[in-house]
Symmetry: none
Subunit: 246 residues, 2 copies
């Protein structure tokens, strides 16, 4: 089931209307903090654990709809944790967190069962998007929820990564796509450059804050070119997207 919050955000709900529950497992408190805040902001209920033992215990009583699991835990191997989690919750989808270079060599089968992974350092939008996808496909959320965002005559498909305005297909790069997704998930709402940087770029991004301006510029060229603009600047506050009409 999906519902639309007063701010215009669309959020996932379980079939009975209660909020989605997510368990976050990582040994670095800064990471669990970061993720917990971001996921709570989605309207989800979050619990966290710092090791495998805690993860299995918490899973048993919390019964989450999805798990975010760091592959590198102090007390046990990632796959061992996975096995024990599966014994408790056979159908729960898992989003693995893994180091960039670890994904190259050894861990096969991460996506075999419909699970997914992101590499550290990740962007919050990426984690949220993948979690939404996992939850949607697992059937924990209502099936009517689909993967297409619509604002005015602009549509963005999270599965096929296709974007079109007024029926015309538009090619976006990965970063442009994530930025647009973030804007479209918060239509008519002003998002500050800091917010955008925090959500769309990886948490360790150390560059200049004006990349946001740059990418807004790119997006405008592709989305608004020769049309009624949908992306607007609120000087001193940030940016927002809204249907061209109003």
């Amino acid at each position: 089931m999906t519902t639309t919050s007063p701010q215009g955000r669309t959020e996932l709900l379980r079939p009975d209307g209660s909020p989605v529950r997510v368990l976050v497992v990582d040994d670095e408190p800064s990471i669990t903090e970061l993720l917990s805040m971001a996921l709570r902001y989605e309207g989800w209920q979050i619990r966290s654990a710092g090791d495998g033992t805690g993860a299995v215990q918490t899973a048993r009583e919390f019964r989450p709809d999805a798990v975010v699991l760091d592959m590198m835990l102090p007390d046990m191997d990632g796959l061992t944790v996975l096995g024990r989690l599966r014994r408790e919750l056979p159908d729960v989808p898992v989003l693995f967190l893994t180091a960039k270079d670890a994904v190259e060599d050894r861990i096969a089968g991460l996506t075999a069962g419909g699970d997914d992974y992101v590499t550290k350092p990740f962007s919050l939008e990426e984690v949220v998007a993948r979690l939404r996808g996992l939850i949607r496909r697992s059937g924990a959320a209502d099936r009517r929820s689909d993967s297409v965002l619509v604002v005015g005559d602009l549509t963005l498909d999270e599965d096929s990564h296709e974007v079109s305005r007024a029926g015309e297909g538009i090619h976006l790069t990965a970063t442009e796509f994530e930025l647009l997704r973030f804007l479209m998930r918060n239509p008519r709402r002003v998002l500050s450059k800091a917010q955008i940087l925090d959500r769309v770029w990886s948490y360790d991004f150390g560059g200049q804050a004006n990349v946001v301006e740059l990418y807004i510029s790119y997006l405008r060229r592709k989305i608004d070119a020769g049309r009624e603009p949908m992306i607007h600047t609120r000087r001193g506050a940030g940016y927002l997207i809204k249907p061209a009409a109003s």
Copy 2:
């Protein structure tokens, strides 16, 4: 009976609409785990057993529509297990798992009865495809479900392994065929290189991830050569296939 899931995937169902039931028997927990995950993702109901005794017991009460059976079990010979299974479930199709160098004459004899086998290490796509075939032919699922995948003017027959585009036959190697099948079972959906590797290559593949790029390249040469391309790269995300039209 077949139905189309929210993801656009087509899944097998029994005539009464309930999910297909599959029993997985292997003594290595990592194998039963991997298979259970992958088969559950097909929308099937899975039980697993680690030895012959457990297999027969579980079969008795679970009454699966198909069985995946490792021929090398700790407590009894594969043929013995098969015999006892047959006593419980005379008509259930069995997919044998066997080591590559195992005596294939015995297996060959067994598969005459409509059963099938794959050698370890297998790819998940291969197991799923063969299971689908077995279930379809056994009549446990609706017969109308056929074995031909179609995307645009491209068709792939899972039974005869024939592929053609715009009526013109195309010869593919085994790996190319499995890759194309995976793409075609998920049309218009971006599949990451990791996903492709996990499903199409054997679970013990330890090589470079760029084999995927290589085989995509091979496929393009055969499928898209001189035509409107159907296989598309989403840089930084993966690949997808879709009809040439859109």
